[in-house]
């Protein structure tokens, strides 16, 4: 027997102790089981009984009570009278387990385990035998689920370079002995671990500061570094109740603290060379994770990933001290442990935790199992069958989009590479229209992010964004309605009614990315705003709900990045609740929603600085905000959501009929919300119809945007109808109510039929081609010099975000081709851009026949007038007089083009950059106050395109180098190192006088300013994340004051 070395230690009684039945001729080592308990449940007795029934003869049991609310001594004595009980004031597992350092004096091994672990009878013996056989310092058993012993929980553990744990076992994985086999592992959890007592003493026991989350990792890692082996012996089995969260309020593990402690352990025990890359990569990865967490609003799972790093970096000195200590004890190098580590654990974990739709789901495999299980269980339910059928129709209806890609019509412009989008975002000069210093839109970053997630496949990313709008929007409607009704079936019906609505189909047909994004994300915005507004009563509640508000702001920022008018949706929703208040009450709720919306908008604006500031200053250019359309819709069209090819016929009437039931028959809250939903719908309809009816000459946003609100109102009302049927109708005698319900059901079915009918073409009415494809030859025209294409016509069929003249004629400028997503969310119009509109106006009114001359200095080589969004799309008449005006221009030569597109080549075109011969420079007007007149009267003589890159061209000159970007003082040019004189040709462009021949380098000198603004934006986002983290941490910490951590 071991003897006590210190006065505080004591010899533990054991099965093999004096008075036991052990053979005195055989010296067997004593094992001291250290069971840490706190506020134990019924599982404690099971755990103790399992220890008592071990077949190992020399086992003593020490139960350390970590400050339970009630003294468990009596219960322990009842279950295992031989057990020694120590009560300590330390609340944590690690500190309590360290009691063994002072209490145990005669044991060779310590079996440290939780109080909710039930060991198989031979477990201790098997572990001990393996420890001797393999000369291991730490041995762990196979751990299975106590409730379902067939399910594996862990068979040893590993970590990745950032300390994220990995069991190698999929959730719910059945134990078929597939992991059996003794092997080295990085660490075993302290659920049950056999550790040599001398090693435990040498290591100083657990590092209490690593609890929760990393005390076992830390111990085993230090054991490893000290040269000890850590093994798992799967023949030894333990059943784990996983009762950490069942010990009273706040007993659940603190995820943030666990993340902090894991990173602390990594920072302490990793080698310096490893940390060189682990720290920056870990911080960057956590930053991305935090962004995604914020965007996906998984606040319940938000680990404040970035905050964990921040927390540790602030404790740099402590970490350094700990590293010094660890270095002293180190006997092996980091690389010797590399084989035991896992890779990509964090990514798998993130996907499992945040992409999966069910909180219980931890991996894709589990998603699959859950889905199969759910399908098996619910297939018989009609609602589930309906969802499945509609999902199938959705896939069928999207088949050509999924297989052939989304045509580049409207704002569905093609997405270039990730680097192209990011470099456009970082550029100090915005290459839209005639150029601008306005900040680039953050939507480009969003696109780049999404493209990155699909490994750079921009077309796939674009297709997914478009096609997934249906289910995403439907899920948003589900969440909103679920929050209102607290019931499943109404929420599902609302989701279906929303997804069935013609709005997204028409948005896809017309290529309206912003309204489509609003359709998809709008219900989430409203849901969060409503939830926040309903919770906020009193200062404390407000503080608690701060995270919700921040989430709203983040999601609103994300939505606004796609559609600048998104905040109006929330404001309109608030208005709907207030307008409904005289009828059903809830004015205060409306005010709270309004305040929430305003606050969320402020947060979104801050997160989108400086782009948002530029937009706020775009008052003179409402088209830049999306006010580009003059829809000619009559009342029936609006009510049927018939803003495009979808919605014709009776289908949309059916949805309205389905929505009417809750209004006609609902009672109580159902009636209240039905009223609000209908007011929402009416406002949405009115926002489209009133301008079309009373102000047809005023440009308004795309009708699908406001109709999204109406669609959501109709969908919620339809969902409430199900609730009404269940609560207010079912079980009553057959009568009028049942008839109304039948009509509603038929209406819903008609809506389904409409959806099904539109699925026939496989692309939801989108054209089967696009103009960039038809005009692919433009790509090769770049060799003749840089050029622009002027797209002119009805704004509804123009690509990208058109400018809109006073008469409603739209125009867009694209560069060196048909344009791509880099030219989306164009900069607000400035004076130079307005010159294009002036020229078109003059031509349309017959006041000039030299449009080509007017736009030649803008390097407009082609003028395209589409009368369809793309080949095969529905025709849209061009503005009156425009075709004749273009046909009457003396300098526009008509080219062959597919049906629906009239294409002209400008015979007066001036490339960009181009050099005007020295002898002809006098003919170029400089600094003209009347650029239009100057362009009209000027016949620039010898002009040659400057070959090569503008920043490093082929030799050119001498002469005047024309650079057709809007004049800005930060443009400069050099030839052989000499800075050229900067002039203002035609009163708006840039020109540089080159007195000698040489390679020209044209540069924009305002790039540093842009970098500064990007830094400001990053700081704002970081500040936002810190606030989110602090808010989340504070919210979790507040109730924790009243409790102690559980073991």
């Amino acid at each position: 027997m071991a003897t006590a070395e210190s006065p505080g230690t004591q010899a533990l009684p054991g099965n093999g102790g004096e008075g036991g039945n052990r053979d005195p001729r055989i010296e067997i080592p004593t094992v001291a089981a250290v069971v840490v308990t706190r506020n134990p449940g019924a599982w404690l007795e099971q755990a103790l009984l399992s220890l008592g029934s071990q077949d190992y003869p020399s086992l003593a049991v020490l139960v350390v009570d970590a400050a339970s609310d009630e003294d468990p001594s009596d219960r322990i004595a009842g279950a295992l009278p031989e057990a020694v009980v120590r009560r300590v004031p330390h609340p944590g597992f690690a500190a309590a387990a360290n009691e063994a350092l002072y209490t145990v004096r005669n044991a060779t091994f310590l079996l440290i385990c939780h109080d909710d672990v039930v060991l198989d009878p031979g477990a201790v013996r098997l572990m001990l035998e393996e420890a001797f056989r393999s000369n291991a310092g730490v041995v762990g058993p196979k751990i299975v689920d106590a409730d379902n012993p067939e399910v594996l929980l862990e068979v040893g553990r590993s970590i990745d370079s950032f300390g994220n744990p990995h069991t190698g076992i999929e959730p719910g994985e059945i134990d078929q002995e597939q992991h059996d086999g003794v092997r080295d592992v990085f660490y075993v959890s302290d659920t049950a671990m056999l550790v040599r007592t001398d090693l435990f003493h040498e290591l100083g026991g657990f590092d209490a500061s690593r609890f929760p989350g990393a005390e076992d990792l830390d111990l085993c890692w230090r054991a490893r570094l000290a040269g000890a082996r850590v093994l798992v012996a799967p023949d030894a089995r333990a059943q784990h109740h996983q009762a950490a969260g069942d010990r009273g309020e706040g007993a659940a593990p603190d995820a943030a603290a666990m993340a902090r402690n894991r990173i602390s352990t990594v920072l302490t025990l990793s080698s310096a060379r490893t940390l060189l890359w682990v720290v920056p990569v870990g911080i960057a990865g956590s930053f991305v994770e935090s962004l995604l967490l914020t965007i996906t609003l998984r606040r319940g799972r938000q680990r404040s990933a970035l905050g964990a790093w921040w927390w540790n970096l602030r404790r740099f000195r402590e970490i350094r001290r700990a590293r010094r200590q660890a270095r002293r004890d180190r006997r092996i190098e980091d690389r010797d442990l590399r084989q035991l580590r896992a890779r990509g654990v964090r990514l798998r974990g993130f996907v499992a935790e945040h992409v999966a739709t069910d909180d219980r789901v931890r991996s894709f495999a589990d998603v699959g199992r859950s889905a199969v299980s759910a399908a098996t269980e619910k297939t018989r339910q009609p609602l589930f069958a309906l969802v499945a059928v509609l999902a199938l129709i959705w896939v069928v209806g999207s088949r050509h989009l999924l297989t052939g890609g989304v045509p580049a019509v409207g704002t569905f412009a093609r997405w270039p590479g990730v680097l192209d989008m990011l470099s456009t975002y970082a550029s100090g000069w915005r290459y839209t229209g005639l150029g601008s210093t306005t900040a680039a839109p953050p939507g480009l970053v969003a696109m780049a992010g999404i493209t990155t997630t699909v490994f750079g496949a921009g077309g796939l990313a674009r297709t997914l964004v478009v096609v997934l709008a249906f289910p995403v929007g439907g899920y948003g409607a589900y969440r909103l309605t679920r929050g209102i009704t607290q019931s499943f079936a109404p929420a599902v019906v609302a989701a279906l009614a929303y997804a069935l609505n013609p709005v997204p189909r028409n948005a896809i047909a017309a290529g309206r990315l912003g309204p489509l994004a609003l359709f998809a994300l709008g219900p989430f915005l409203i849901s969060i705003a409503l939830r926040y507004a309903e919770r906020v009563r009193g200062a404390q509640a407000r503080r608690r709900a701060l995270t919700g508000l921040l989430g709203l702001g983040a999601l609103l920022a994300f939505t606004t990045a796609w559609y600048p008018l998104a905040p109006l949706l929330l404001l309109t929703f608030a208005a709907a609740i207030m307008l409904a208040a005289p009828l059903v009450g809830g004015f205060r709720l409306g005010v709270r929603v309004l305040v929430t919306s305003v606050l969320g908008t402020v947060i979104a604006v801050l997160l989108l600085v400086p782009w948002s500031v530029a937009l706020l200053g775009a008052g003179d250019d409402p088209a830049g905000l999306g006010f580009s359309f003059r829809p000619q819709l009559d009342l029936a069209d609006v009510l049927r959501f018939h803003s495009g090819p979808a919605g014709a016929g009776w289908a949309a009437w059916g949805l309205a009929a389905a929505a009417s039931m809750a209004l006609l028959l609902g009672r109580g809250p159902r009636f209240t919300w039905a009223t609000r939903a209908w007011i929402m719908a009416i406002i949405g309809w009115a926002l489209v119809w009133l301008p079309a009816r009373f102000a047809p000459d005023v440009s308004v946003p795309a009708p699908e945007a406001a109709l999204s609100l109406a669609a959501l109102g109709v969908a919620v009302a339809a969902g409430l109808g199900v609730s009404v049927f269940v609560e207010d109708i079912r079980g009553r005698r057959i009568g009028l109510r049942q008839s109304v319900a039948a009509v509603a059901a038929v209406g819903f079915a008609v809506g389904v039929l409409g959806f099904t009918a539109d699925a026939g073409d496989g692309r939801w009415g989108a054209p089967d081609g696009d103009w960039p494809e038809a005009l692919a030859f433009l790509q090769s025209e770049r060799e003749s010099g840089g050029f622009r294409v002027l797209w002119v016509g009805d704004p509804t069929v123009l690509p990208l975000d058109p400018f809109v003249a006073a008469d409603g004629t739209g125009y867009t400028l694209t560069r060196n081709g048909s344009g791509d997503a880099r030219e989306l969310w164009r900069a607000p119009s400035d004076r130079a851009d307005a010159l294009v509109g002036d020229a078109l106006e003059l031509a349309s009114e017959g006041r000039t026949d030299r449009l080509g001359h007017l736009v030649a200095p803008m390097s407009v080589r082609y003028v395209a007038m589409p009368t369809r969004a793309g080949p095969g799309a529905s025709p849209q008449a061009p503005p009156a007089g425009l075709p004749a005006a273009l046909a009457g221009q003396l300098d526009l030569a008509r080219l062959g083009a597919p049906a629906g597109l009239t294409l002209y080549e400008n015979t007066a075109w001036i490339p960009t950059p181009a050099t005007v011969r020295l002898t002809d420079t006098e003919s170029v007007p400089l600094g003209s106050k009347n650029p239009t007149g100057a362009a009209l009267r000027t016949d620039v003589g010898g002009v040659t395109a400057v070959r090569g890159s503008p920043s490093d061209s082929a030799p050119t000159g001498p002469g005047l180098v024309l650079w057709s970007e809007a004049f800005d003082g930060d443009w400069s040019a050099t030839v052989t190192g000499k800075t050229l004189r900067h002039v203002k040709p035609f009163g708006w462009a840039n020109g540089f006088t080159a007195s000698e021949r040489g390679s020209v380098s044209i540069n924009y000198d305002g790039q540093l300013r842009r970098y500064g603004l990007i830094s400001l934006q990053v700081l704002l986002v970081l500040a936002f994340l810190v606030v989110v983290w602090r808010s989340t941490a504070a919210r979790r910490a507040r109730p924790d004051r009243a409790r102690r951590p559980s073991p």
Binding site: G585, L663, F671, G846, A893
Partner: protein, 510 residues
């Protein structure tokens, strides 16, 4: 073991307003509100739009006849199709640029010779209130020449005037006659002419001018005494970019007394003019005519300025390009209001009716006339006049009647001679009398025009200003202003020949 009973808690709170059960009586107001919203919207939706669909008068005028460039125009472009650009040509052409705007204007006269030859331009300045005459040959001498298909290739002229208030006319001069008419403001896809003939001694030339940088493809068809003719050689006729092609109609339509022409452009746009050259072989007429085509048939046409005199003949030709027959009523308008009965004239499908105006003006007094269709098919109306001794001059003239009215008409005065007869006639087709003033800018140009004559024109009557009597000089720009919509036409008969022409309308005065 049984669960402990729930601890007593606070009494359930009363549901907040709007979240609890509302009384059933609240349903009615909600339904009323929703119903009223829908009803109001439906009422407005059914009542139609308030937006006026009536086109502006100015637009209507501009679509039918050449109009003076708007005062705020940056530039206006005029297209002059017919004429030759070499001395001694069949129709030696000169461009007349008049400026009735508020500032001096600059003009660029570009002669497009067609073929491989490059256009040539000349810049001229036009003083405010003045006019400039530019012979085409002074810009570019380019003889007209036949091509392989027997068509004549010659110069077309584009005149760009930088500044508002301008108008451009051109005159073509033959062996013994002069013809004047306004150039076109717009190219078009259809052009119609009623007064053509390929009778003996008549050279009917249709000039098709494509000033644009891409080729135009044109179909020419004819309504004749012998019926509808669509010569194969004149179908899908290519008018090359920036060139003028003249079709000698007689080469394709032989010996027809009445030949109405329709030029339809399949691709592109053109400007079409027609000239008639009556040679000595012609039994009844001598001289040269010039008309700009009508862009479309109309149901109502008016023209003033018919002056019955010895040696003169006036005919109105009514062309129906539709396949179905129609009928028109022709009614004379004299200086005094009179109650004449309109004369019905049947016009067969795709044919031309000729009415001798002498039969309408038995009294010998000057008169104008109105032509209205009484059936659905619109028509094109053109006057053909000729003078021979004992009249003051020898020559011929054609002009389309006007389908529109305007409060203002502008003319370049033209070649006035003391011994000749020159006048501007004004027809008031309205039901109220109109006060009409004749204004003229000072010779050589001036800031403001001065009134040189004023008269009251009764309803449905016409009046005539005698330019020679009023002392108007040939280089003056003349403006007709009325307080009601009228039609104004100029008639010059003198030693240099005879010409008839509508004025150039002021659309903003319409």
């Amino acid at each position: 073991m049984t669960a402990p009973p729930p601890a007593p808690g606070p009494a359930p709170r009363r549901p907040p307003p709007g979240r609890g059960d509302p009384p059933e009586r609240r349903r009615l107001p909600v339904l009323i509100v929703v119903g009223v919203c829908v009803a109001i919207a439906a009422a407005f939706g059914l009542s139609g739009t308030d937006a006026s669909t009536t086109p502006r008068a100015g637009n209507t005028i501009a679509a039918a006849v050449p109009t003076v460039a708007e005062p705020d125009s940056v530039s206006s472009t005029w297209y002059c199709a017919e004429g030759t650009g070499s001395p001694g040509g069949r129709a030696d052409e000169a461009i007349i640029i008049a400026n009735a705007g508020k500032a001096a204007a600059r003009a660029l006269v570009t002669v497009m010779p067609g073929g491989q030859d490059e256009p040539e331009s000349r810049r001229v300045s036009v003083p405010r209130g003045g006019q400039v005459r530019v012979p085409v040959s002074s810009v570019l001498q380019t003889p007209e020449h036949p091509d392989d298909a027997g068509l004549l290739v010659g110069p077309g002229v584009v005149v760009e005037v930088f500044g508002g208030g301008s108008l451009v006319e051109h005159e073509i001069e033959g062996e013994s006659d002069l013809a004047v008419g306004p150039c076109a403001r717009e190219a078009g896809r259809d052009w119609y002419f009623a007064a053509g003939t390929t009778e003996r001694g008549a050279e009917d030339n249709a000039a098709l001018f494509n000033p644009f940088p891409d080729d135009a493809i044109v179909d020419l068809t004819f309504a004749t005494d012998a019926g509808f003719i669509a010569p194969a050689d004149l179908q899908a006729l290519v008018v090359p970019q920036r060139s003028r092609v003249t079709v000698p109609v007689a080469n394709f339509v032989r010996r027809q007394a009445q030949v109405a022409l329709h030029a339809h452009v399949r691709t592109g746009r053109i400007v079409a003019e027609q000239s008639l050259n009556f040679t000595t072989e012609n039994e009844t007429r001598r001289g040269l005519t010039l008309s700009l085509g009508a862009p479309s048939p109309e149901s109502s046409w008016s023209l003033p300025g018919v002056v019955p005199e010895d040696g003169a003949s006036h005919a109105v030709l009514v062309a129906n390009f539709d396949t179905s027959a129609t009928e028109v009523e022709i009614e004379p308008r004299f200086d005094e209001a009179s109650s004449t009965r309109p004369r019905p004239v049947p016009v067969g499908g795709r044919s031309v009716a000729v009415v001798d105006l002498a039969s309408l003006g038995d009294s010998g007094a000057p008169f104008g006339f109105e032509v209205r269709t009484t059936r659905a098919s619109p028509v094109v109306v053109e006057q053909l006049a000729s003078w021979a001794p004992p009249a003051a001059a020898t020559g011929s003239a054609t002009t389309l009647a006007s389908p529109v009215q305007s409060r203002g008409w502008v003319f370049a005065a033209g070649r006035l001679t003391p011994e000749g007869d020159a006048g501007v006639s004004v027809l008031n087709p309205g039901r109220k009398s109109a006060t009409v003033r004749l204004l003229a800018y000072a010779s050589g140009g001036a800031d403001q025009p001065t009134s040189v004559g004023e008269m009251r024109v009764p309803a449905r009557a016409q009046a005539r200003f005698d330019l020679v009597e009023l002392g108007v000089e040939p280089d003056q720009v003349v403006v007709v202003r009325a307080d009601a919509p009228v039609i104004a036409a100029r008639r010059i008969v003198g030693p240099t020949g005879a010409s008839l022409a509508l004025g150039v309308a002021e659309p903003d005065a319409g």
